[in-house]
């Protein structure tokens, strides 16, 4: 019988010195990383529902080939805002801000992040940025796609575009401030004995993601500021009528926005690497490989941006360079996928909701990754660029990947965050509805893209009508699938059964404390967990024979 032993770590009756969190703290400017993490999570999830409503409206229009639900102008605003909200107000803050904040100090044995006040400021930029963005609907929401290419973006409504630019500048700033905190904390605040090579893999993922945020987000800010000058200042950086070049905008925009997709997926890779071992009761397979592959993806992610511009104004030799670099990214990503499969292989799988979503993540992400390798091939991309093939690919990696992974993480850490268990039966219902709805919606899109349907259109060739109807039904199913989850999460948070410190019997440090953790995170010294994936062996953190303790364990 091998389970994590908590004797000698936690008091049976928590001493009154360990302070408990009051519920109203979650609505204030609070510097506790756990509060900030939950604030990020709830806020971003609310914006996910907004983005999902926008998507449902888009799919309603697309259920018939004619324009019969909304006007063409509004339709263009709907998909523009859908993407903008999902990227900047759901996935980036949830994957980085929510889980990064909640988990990192617990995982490295720190009491909080390096800059707690900066952390709170970073979160509190999100609600105003989000509200500002949504307010653009009052003046004519932007309608040039989330990519906002000039000259079109300079010609649609000025106010909507201006609001879009300003809100992205605010949200980008939030992201940068968070990254500063994560990197500093990870590099300087690990508990004695936790080196870079035995910290949990989510920490590696956050290092890699935060490096990308720091390097690439300022370039987006530059692009947006120049666009703003063109929009309201009469300049011509990107306006050909004044001698400007629209292609320069594309380069600057994608220099951020390609790394952005890795910012959206790397933390989720890390979360999945944490979840699978716990419920498979096996160590993560290939720790070193997964850790370094995160860094490799981070670096490579910075030199592939022009694969979004294969049909634009870029010389052929440059396309070849970006093609090869993009193809190469498949290698570290493949390493992760195979390692995850090897992790569950031979284990003793507990198929709870978190595990189902985590395995579903691997499954769906592989499909998105394969279509991604196809898109990397420049001559093939010429045919499918700006078609529904790309829409299918991006949703397989962002929904099948990031969203599935975020759901897995929510189910897995729900007990730790709230101190209660979420209902398993409804979690499984949620999983099945999501899996079916998602594939029904996005799998057929590969076909219509290849057959000739472009993206960002309210009306389309009637030959695509049947498939689009299927996609829309899948979308409605996805919309419905969120209902059991929301009800389950809210109800369980308030009245679910108490969870206890370690309902999953996990080894990772965050489970070696109360649920929810006290404000100080740990009683006394944070526990020393030399190997967070040490399943399959005797494990007793309180007592280790001296022969197994190395000098490096005791000193940094």
């Amino acid at each position: 019988m091998i389970t994590a032993q908590l004797d000698g770590i936690l008091p049976v009756n928590p001493s009154p010195e360990l302070t408990e969190r009051k519920w109203w703290d979650y609505f204030t400017f609070n510097t506790d990383h756990k509060v900030i993490g939950i604030q990020y999570l709830v806020t971003s999830f609310l914006f996910y529902l907004v983005g999902g409503a926008l998507a449902t409206a888009v799919r309603k229009e697309l259920s018939t080939p004619e324009v019969d639900f909304v006007s063409r102008e509004l339709y263009n605003s709907l998909f523009t805002m859908h993407a903008t909200v999902m990227i900047f107000l759901w996935i980036v803050p949830a994957a980085n801000g929510a889980f990064g904040n909640f988990l990192l100090p617990l995982m490295i044995g720190a009491r909080d992040m390096a800059f707690p006040r900066l952390n709170a400021i970073a979160f509190w930029l999100i609600p105003p940025g989000g509200i500002l963005l949504m307010s653009s609907f009052l003046v004519g929401a932007p309608a040039s796609g989330w990519t906002s290419y000039p000259p079109l973006s300079l010609m649609n409504g000025k106010w909507g575009e201006l609001i879009w630019i300003l809100s992205l500048l605010i949200l980008g700033t939030s992201s940068i401030l968070g990254a500063v905190n994560f990197i500093t904390t990870l590099l300087l605040m690990r508990r004695p004995g936790i080196g870079l090579n035995n910290m949990p893999l989510f920490c590696w993922a956050m290092l890699s993601s935060s490096a990308l945020v720091l390097i690439s987000t300022p370039v987006l800010a530059g692009a947006l500021i120049l666009l703003c000058f063109d929009l309201i200042g009469g300049t011509s950086f990107f306006n050909p009528t004044g001698g400007g070049d629209p292609i320069v905008y594309q380069h600057m925009f994608w220099f951020y926005s390609h790394p952005a997709v890795y910012i959206m997926i790397l933390p989720v890779f890390g979360l999945v690497s944490e979840i699978l071992p716990v419920h498979a009761r096996k160590p993560i397979f290939g720790y070193q490989a997964i850790a370094y592959s995160s860094l490799a993806i981070s670096f490579l992610g910075l030199i592939v941006w022009a694969h979004h511009m294969f049909t634009s104004g870029v010389p052929g030799w440059l396309r070849m360079f970006f093609m090869v670099a993009t193809m190469v990214i498949a290698v570290p990503t493949g390493i992760k996928v195979f390692s995850w499969v090897a992790t569950v292989w031979g284990g003793k799988l507990r198929l709870n909701s978190g595990m189902l979503f985590a395995m579903g993540f691997v499954s769906m992400f592989v499909i998105g990754g394969l279509s991604g390798v196809m898109l990397a091939s420049a001559p093939f991309d010429i045919h499918v660029h700006d078609t529904y093939f790309v829409v299918a690919h991006l949703h397989y990696v962002l929904f099948g990947g990031s969203v599935f992974g975020l759901y897995a993480a929510i189910y897995h850490w729900f007990p730790k965050m709230t101190g209660r268990m979420i209902n398993e039966t409804w979690g499984k219902v949620h999983f099945v509805l999501t899996l079916v709805g998602f594939n029904l919606c996005f799998l057929p899109m590969h076909k219509v893209g290849l057959a000739g349907m472009p993206r960002r259109v309210a009306e389309y060739d009637p030959q695509f009508a049947a498939i689009n109807l299927i996609c829309s039904i899948g979308a409605y199913l996805l919309a419905v699938s969120t209902i059991p989850f929301v009800i389950n999460a809210v109800y369980s948070w308030v009245r679910g059964p108490k969870a206890g410190a370690n309902p999953w019997n996990a080894i990772s440090p965050e489970w070696q404390t109360l649920s929810p953790p006290p404000i100080e995170n740990y009683l006394g010294e944070p526990p020393f967990v030399p190997d967070p994936y040490d399943y399959g062996k005797d494990y007793n953190p309180g007592k280790r024979p001296m022969s197994q303790v190395k000098a490096a364990d005791l000193w940094r």
Binding site: T311, V331, G346, L349, V373, K447, V457
Partner: protein, 325 residues
């Protein structure tokens, strides 16, 4: 029946390979290939589908197999085995994908080069190094301005060096929300693109206002129309038919409606179309195409039809104020 693991794995491997190849050849996902370069792209896509199906089956198969085979047994709360690494296996699954993507990169490079994607580089290098050397006529005509002028995206099958002054050149203009085709050689302007079968085609693409993109799925060719600069597509159509021209870059509210057609027809039909276009646009005292009533006034022409249309002469006079001719 206890099949040894080796045999079972072998059978699975064979099945996966066979299924992958079959799907790669029979997926039917692409429309007809109607230009010389299209089958090259399709071959590349077939290969990528084969590889993807194989990898998909392997990974999904392993996951689904694990989902059932390695479920936690009832009443067993123990851990699984402490496997942390296996260097040969990890090298294998790093090396094989690396070889695959390298292979795909080389294959893609070859295809891209065959369809003329690197021609720009070759042309400019050639031009630089051999000043005064004879270059095929279309090169001269398109290279009037200095070689450093950014003329980008020369993609097509027939590389300019092969074109011996034959072929069709069309100036394509994209604007919100239509495509306009000018044939500089004959002076024709049309809303549809007519092309003769089997001739090299050069499209010189411009945008009047915002970004558009010229896309014919059946040619597997797409090129952004960029305001402020000219882009090009070179190709040779191979199958007679009428294919959609789809705008593939968001250009405003009617982006979805911005379509035209390209009609590939036999040389004789194409020549007839050219003649017809010329005739239609040339005013003449002796119209070669009888246009009944061209010299009659609108009222005279419509008089016999008024009863059918349900309009009185008074209404017609109000709607169409009389003027000469």
């Amino acid at each position: 029946m206890n099949i040894p693991t080796n045999i079972a794995t072998l059978i699975v491997g064979v099945l996966v390979t066979l299924i992958s190849f079959w799907v790669g050849q029979h997926h039917g996902l692409l429309p007809v290939a109607a230009s010389v370069n299209a089958p090259l792209i399709d071959g590349l896509f077939d290969t990528m589908i084969t590889l993807s199906v194989g990898l998909f089956l392997l990974v999904q198969g392993a996951l689904i197999f694990a989902l059932f085979k390695f479920r936690k047994p009832k009443d067993d709360e123990t851990d699984g085995p402490p496997w942390k690494e296996n260097l040969p296996l990890e090298i294998l699954w790093t090396g094989i994908p690396a070889i695959i993507v390298l292979g795909l990169s080389v294959y893609s490079f070859e295809v891209y080069s065959s369809i003329g994607g690197l021609e720009q580089l070759a042309m400019q290098a050639h031009h630089h190094s051999m000043k005064g050397a004879a270059i095929a006529a279309p090169l001269n005509s398109t290279n009037q301005s200095s070689p450093t002028e950014p003329r980008l995206a020369t993609i097509g099958f027939t590389a300019p060096a092969n074109v011996k002054g034959t072929g069709v050149t069309v100036d394509v203009t994209g604007l919100q929300y239509a495509w306009i085709f000018n044939y500089p050689d004959s002076g024709i302007t049309s809303g549809e693109l007519h092309l003769p079968l089997g001739q090299d085609v050069q499209l010189k693409i411009k945008a009047m206002d915002v970004l558009h993109a010229f896309w014919v799925p059946q040619f597997r060719l797409k090129q952004d129309a960029i305001p402020g600069r000219e882009t090009e597509l070179w190709f040779k159509p191979t199958v007679i038919g009428t294919y959609p021209i789809v705008c593939a870059e968001l250009c405003g509210s009617f982006h979805g409606a911005m379509r035209s057609q390209v009609i590939i027809e036999p040389q004789s039909d194409y020549d007839a179309w050219v003649q017809q276009q010329l005739a239609d646009s040339t005013p003449s005292d002796h119209p070669t195409i009888a246009s009944a009533g061209q010299s009659q006034s609108v009222e005279t022409r419509l008089a016999p039809r008024l009863a059918e249309m349900g309009i009185s002469e008074l209404t017609l006079a109000q709607v169409h104020p009389h003027h000469d001719g």
